[in-house]
């Protein structure tokens, strides 16, 4: 890939006769430039996906409620996210009088930075990850657990009551569901015997069914069905999406930690939330639905399968939002601590016993 890109550049700049002086300039820092190019190749499509996910969300929820949804800007309303982005970009960023100025701006940055950094280890196809880290899954856990700081700092620095309540709710909720999420991942590690995301996907491509052309029955979702459900629901709770959106419950605390933010500062939180949604959908597809693997033997593996699976989970996110009423706060805590955590503990024991028994299929 690297050679192909280099040849393309050589051809393009060679037309103007500029290739040799340019290459002399770039060659010492080429590894850095190459990594930066890969980062841009991940972040740019991601941001575009975020923009069109908001559009898709409004359309889907519109259809589910027998409305049309956004349809004024561009054909079928397709330019709506661009218009929204422009509006947010040119809006004034207001800072409340009593706010802690530095932290007020650190908040949104702390929200979006981990949401983007986590993508570094996600494998999009075989060998297609920015960093093929041995502790990849652990790295993602670390990055997503830092997203909470953006919310807490923003809520505190606003020096306002609703944001502070939102921050308190967010920290309690995210810390609780992180535990269920981490425990669900332990079972995935146990059966794939690796923390490397690419290895986890490859482990799902092995097995009796995969050899007989029905790969989707070899994926992790069957032996780990309860963990699959726990992980995805915890993911919905981690991203503070409906029905777990008490953090920004409109009818109670207006918009939670985002109340005092406007313009791009607000847009940062928005981008972070949607980037996290896509991340949870991607991870669920990679860990439980075989990532880039094809469900059937006669079709080739590739990025398109991952895209289909991600879209499926993103649709579930939107479907949930249009369907379920918001959880009461104590019910959220009960679900996390009294249902999910014990369930994951039991399933770790079940998988553990299965693996030491003679019927172990995870070799």
């Amino acid at each position: 890939m690297e050679q192909a890109v280099l040849r393309l550049f050589e051809y393009f700049w060679g037309m103007f006769g500029l290739w040799d002086p340019l290459w002399a300039l770039v060659k010492p820092v080429w590894p850095l430039v190459w990594v930066l190019m890969k980062i841009v190749a991940i972040i740019l499509p991601l941001m575009l996906c975020v923009a069109y996910l908001t559009f898709w969300e409004r359309k889907i929820i519109g259809w589910m409620q027998v409305r049309i949804g956004p349809n004024r800007v561009g054909p079928w309303g397709l330019l709506q996210p661009i218009a929204d982005g422009m509006k947010l970009f040119f809006k004034e960023v207001l800072v409340p009088t009593g706010a802690n100025k530095a932290l007020f701006f650190v908040g949104p940055v702390m929200a979006i930075a981990p949401a983007l950094a986590a993508w570094a280890v996600v494998p999009f196809f075989d060998g297609g990850a920015l960093a093929n880290l041995d502790a990849g899954l652990f790295y993602i856990l670390g990055m997503t657990s830092m997203g909470i700081y953006g919310v807490i700092i923003a809520g505190w620095a606003s020096n306002s009551k609703y944001p502070f309540l939102g921050a308190m709710r967010a920290s309690a909720q995210m810390v609780s569901y992180e535990i269920a999420m981490g425990m669900a991942l332990v079972t995935v590690l146990m059966i794939s015997n690796s923390l490397n995301l690419s290895d986890i996907v490859r482990a799902q491509g092995r097995g009796w069914f995969a050899d007989h052309g029905a790969g989707f029955l070899s994926w992790n979702w069957i032996p780990l069905l309860p963990m699959f459900v726990v992980y995805f629901i915890s993911g919905v709770a981690e991203t503070n999406r409906a029905p777990f959106d008490v953090v920004e419950g409109e009818s109670e605390i207006v918009a939670g930690h985002m109340v005092e933010f406007s313009g791009m500062a607000f847009a940062m939180f928005f981008l972070a939330e949607y980037a996290n949604m896509i991340l949870v959908a991607t991870l669920t597809s990679i860990l439980f639905l075989g990532g880039w693997l094809s469900p059937v033997g006669f079709l080739p593996d590739g990025f398109h399968w991952l895209a289909v699976k991600i879209s499926l989970f993103l649709f579930l996110f939107l479907w949930f939002r249009a369907t379920f009423p918001r959880y009461r706060y104590d019910q959220i805590m009960r679900l996390g601590w009294k249902v999910f955590v014990p369930l994951t503990l039991v399933w770790i024991v079940v998988i553990g016993s299965w693996m030491v028994s003679p019927w172990n299929i995870f070799k």
């Binding site: 880290l133 041995d134 502790a135 856990l141 657990s145 700081y149 807490i152 505190w156 992180e178 923390l195």
Partner: protein
């Protein structure tokens, strides 16, 4: 003499780490102090990454930055801390605190001096073989050689956890908690009675 990239990175990370650690104790606002502590942890984890201990580095982030410090921040934000009262006893307690601080510095210098941690005492470890995973090495060490100390530590943590719950457990009289199973099992006929009665006015 030009430095190689790793050395430069080491100096950047350690400079930020030292400054952040100093700010933890000097920051006037306790919330700022906690956030500087987070920054310090983050840079310490970067240093561990430079030592090729990626599992420990990420564990530091997950455990301390991701969980412990969030709860710290949570508590510090909720507390109404009076800075004047905290500073009150500074001069009157200095005669005790000062010598203890000096003693600690002397101890640290004695332990971490060049004699015990210099290049002669601690030579650079041999480059790991291909396919070496320190996650796996750590797991092997914890679950074979050190399995009893490890289990003991986890039992102590469990006891602390249960103790914390028991100490805070008290039945409140105004508790309005409901049993969700009972709530779901409610049927209409348990709550509503429809009475058929003739109208009272002609």
């Amino acid at each position: 003499m030009p430095m190689d990239f790793k050395t430069a990175l080491f100096y950047i990370l350690s400079t930020i780490l030292v400054i952040a650690a100093l700010r933890v104790v000097t920051a006037r606002n306790p919330v700022h102090a906690v956030l500087f502590l987070v920054l310090a942890f983050f840079n310490a984890s970067g240093l561990w990454l430079l030592l090729q201990a990626e599992f420990l580095a990420i564990a530091l982030i997950v455990v301390y930055v991701g969980a412990v410090m969030v709860l710290f921040l949570f508590v510090v934000m909720m507390l109404d801390i009076n800075l004047e009262r905290l500073r009150q006893g500074f001069w009157s307690n200095l005669w005790l605190g000062g010598p203890i601080a000096v003693l600690m510095v002397i101890e640290m210098v004695a332990v971490l001096s060049a004699r015990s941690f210099g290049l002669e005492a601690m030579p650079e470890p041999a480059a790991p073989a291909a396919g070496y995973s320190n996650t796996k090495a750590l797991g092997m060490a914890i679950y074979t050689d050190y399995v009893y100390p490890f289990e003991l530590a986890s039992v102590i943590l469990l006891v602390a956890l249960i103790a914390a719950v028991v100490l805070n457990l008290r039945q409140r009289r105004d508790n309005k908690q409901l049993n969700p199973a009972e709530q779901i099992a409610i049927k209409r006929k348990d709550r509503v009675r429809i009475v058929s009665m003739p109208s009272e006015k002609e």
